[in-house]
Subunit: 451 residues, 2 copies
Amino acid sequence: MEIIKPRTLSGFMELLPGKQAQFERMLTILRSTYASYGFAALDTPVIEDARILLAKGGGETEKQIYRFQKGDSDLALRFDLTVPLAKYVALHANELAFPFRRYQISKVYRGERAQRGRFREFYQADIDIIGDGKLDILNEAEIPAIIYKVFRGFGLNRFQIRVNNRKILNGFYAMLDLSEKSGDIMRTVDKLDKIGADKVRTILCDDCGLTAEQADEILKFISIRGSNAQVIAALESYTGRNELFDLGVEELKAVTANLSAFGVPEENFAVDLTIARGLDYYTGTVYETTLLDHPEIGSVCSGGRYDNLAGYYIEKQLPGVGISIGLTRLFYVLDEQGLLNPQLPTAPADALVLPMTENAGPAIALAEGLRQKGLRVQLYGEQKKFKQKMAYADKLGVPFAVLLGEDEIAENVCSVKNMRTGEQQKLTADDAAAYILAALAAEGGPIILEK
Amino acid sequence: MEIIKPRTLSGFMELLPGKQAQFERMLTILRSTYASYGFAALDTPVIEDARILLAKGGGETEKQIYRFQKGDSDLALRFDLTVPLAKYVALHANELAFPFRRYQISKVYRGERAQRGRFREFYQADIDIIGDGKLDILNEAEIPAIIYKVFRGFGLNRFQIRVNNRKILNGFYAMLDLSEKSGDIMRTVDKLDKIGADKVRTILCDDCGLTAEQADEILKFISIRGSNAQVIAALESYTGRNELFDLGVEELKAVTANLSAFGVPEENFAVDLTIARGLDYYTGTVYETTLLDHPEIGSVCSGGRYDNLAGYYIEKQLPGVGISIGLTRLFYVLDEQGLLNPQLPTAPADALVLPMTENAGPAIALAEGLRQKGLRVQLYGEQKKFKQKMAYADKLGVPFAVLLGEDEIAENVCSVKNMRTGEQQKLTADDAAAYILAALAAEGGPIILEK
């Protein structure tokens, strides 16, 4: 038979079992945290009608999308979870209760140029709250509060959710009579960290056509720093000149106040006037999230408030607020940085039951008994020498081996071997389960271990 | 803005939130049961190199596959989880511990003609155990024992795992000097239930070229019925004439004996000599699973033993045994038949907290407190009239509404309303959590309710 060399496509993450176990832990935390805030799980197709997926059209999306024909159908793979959500809500608007809260943790597809740390297939972990016509500002604080819970659930402490409000930015540019140039200005200002204030000023004047005064006003504004209270106080000195701006400040005050009520400590969120998040989609609060010790990664979780989720598919006005974690990239970076807690067991089983007799019956019963106590148990049925059996247990990384020979069966016990310490003891099945469960509980810890 | 009519492609299952909650329950049972037997979670890409996916090539697969170009790449969507597993094991053979046990619950893609109950995107829930060179027969009993646990976990009792062994069939045809015709014969015999014994005999003689004696021998053989012990006794009357047959009988005896040891009751598994499962892949034990009250559905879970998982990708001999549940179709059928337990709550939250004061702070704190006790809690922040708030709670199907007004805050309590009975009572936050948890626990039950 001709052998075809196996490979996994570049840009597609495929993990070994131990790493996958770590990734699964993050999925579990995400699912349970999102569910605890009353979000419904949703599962939309990977393939959609290309015309629907590209209703908005244009730009990078169209180039990156996986699009193909099947029979007469023009099909495409979803490139995010927001467009399929818009389609879903438009399609089922009459059957849903609004506000409609959903989470979806699924793969999306973008045929980007392959490079280190860039993925063509990657998980997004999204939550959105969709209103019918209206949606209270409270939701704009709840969304980042949930992200705070997720990241703390992962074991992260050194992260910051940065919050801004598009109404403030748009209102501010309106004050300066620069509404029409606000897109260009925001794109320029977005480069502040990279190119510095002087270069930003040059571009604003030379390329965007601003006066030196306007450029200075903008640079002064976006350099407002300090505690959240200080930034808000500085913003209030601008109020009374533009309604939209004033509304934005009110919203930002409500969001920061409620974030505190949700129990998010001040060190984990910050008002940051440089955050803009794209140009036409978001209309109110916007979020970015950075790992404080790894600013080079950029935002690992972003989102914001929008006024019209599904305008391409339905006349109904559906405002919403949502946020998305780029989970595959986050996991990749955490792993690269060595931040995944190596102490957490990644073996597929808590215990490996090794029958040492011809008849496997007693070992089968023992394994079933241990499972009923809540353990993950693998029964090893291969006819191998003892040494090979232990070598397998070692390679698997299983924390406990449970041996059952003639002697143990006669005494109604089993021999439990701690694979790390080498310690071995004879215990009844019930005692063995209790002993292993206690040892595993003592080994618990966060998924991420910050240095 | 031009409106594009939203739609979901036909052959793609997209569930409303309540139905999705039922589906998620099945996923949870599958994951926890598979994990409890020491299977590692695996997650392979949806897109693979088409040449690798189609290494085996030919037939229906090639016609149904979603295949497309992206740049210079010839890509395809996986049509099952076995071929990606073969690629994965071949690619990582040096890093895996054998036997390698993995589960994968993922979507696969087949561009079949769309018809009722047929899906182009559907979940498979697979387990496989892969050996390096050898694999003990014990695994061939463990696999159906796990499926038994899964189905019981769903709440099903009226199902039967039907077991046969390809060595018995191949050995039997060899006894009759019909090895070369065994493919045609098995395809014909497979129609027994549909067309009856007389027609099968006619086809065997006229189309397959068997003598009347040979056809009668075959019909006599596949009509062996009775308890597992009776069928095995009947099989033993054929032993001593063909080595392969004898080995198959020994294996079948071992599998049935071990299935009992695994705690699978006799009524849930049956030796059935008519099961063949395709032609060239399986080499030993084969399985099909039927719902006893819905034989028209056919097999909802099938698999078997194979000798060479990854021969297209690696020289290494990798025998294995695996089984697959066609989850999307199973769910569709259970739903159609009205077998999904309507008593289980499908709301995204256990409690809806309704702030009745201007300041949402106390309600936020209450909701957080209830979550810490393990409840799924939605905070309702919209400025609506009381009646509208209750109408929302009703539409959402949430079992409890928790009201927090000035009075409650002053008394340090909240008002808990049972949405089903209408009963309302004032409780402290801790008592409210305990009360709701107890009520939810009392409402538990199986996912599937057999009639």
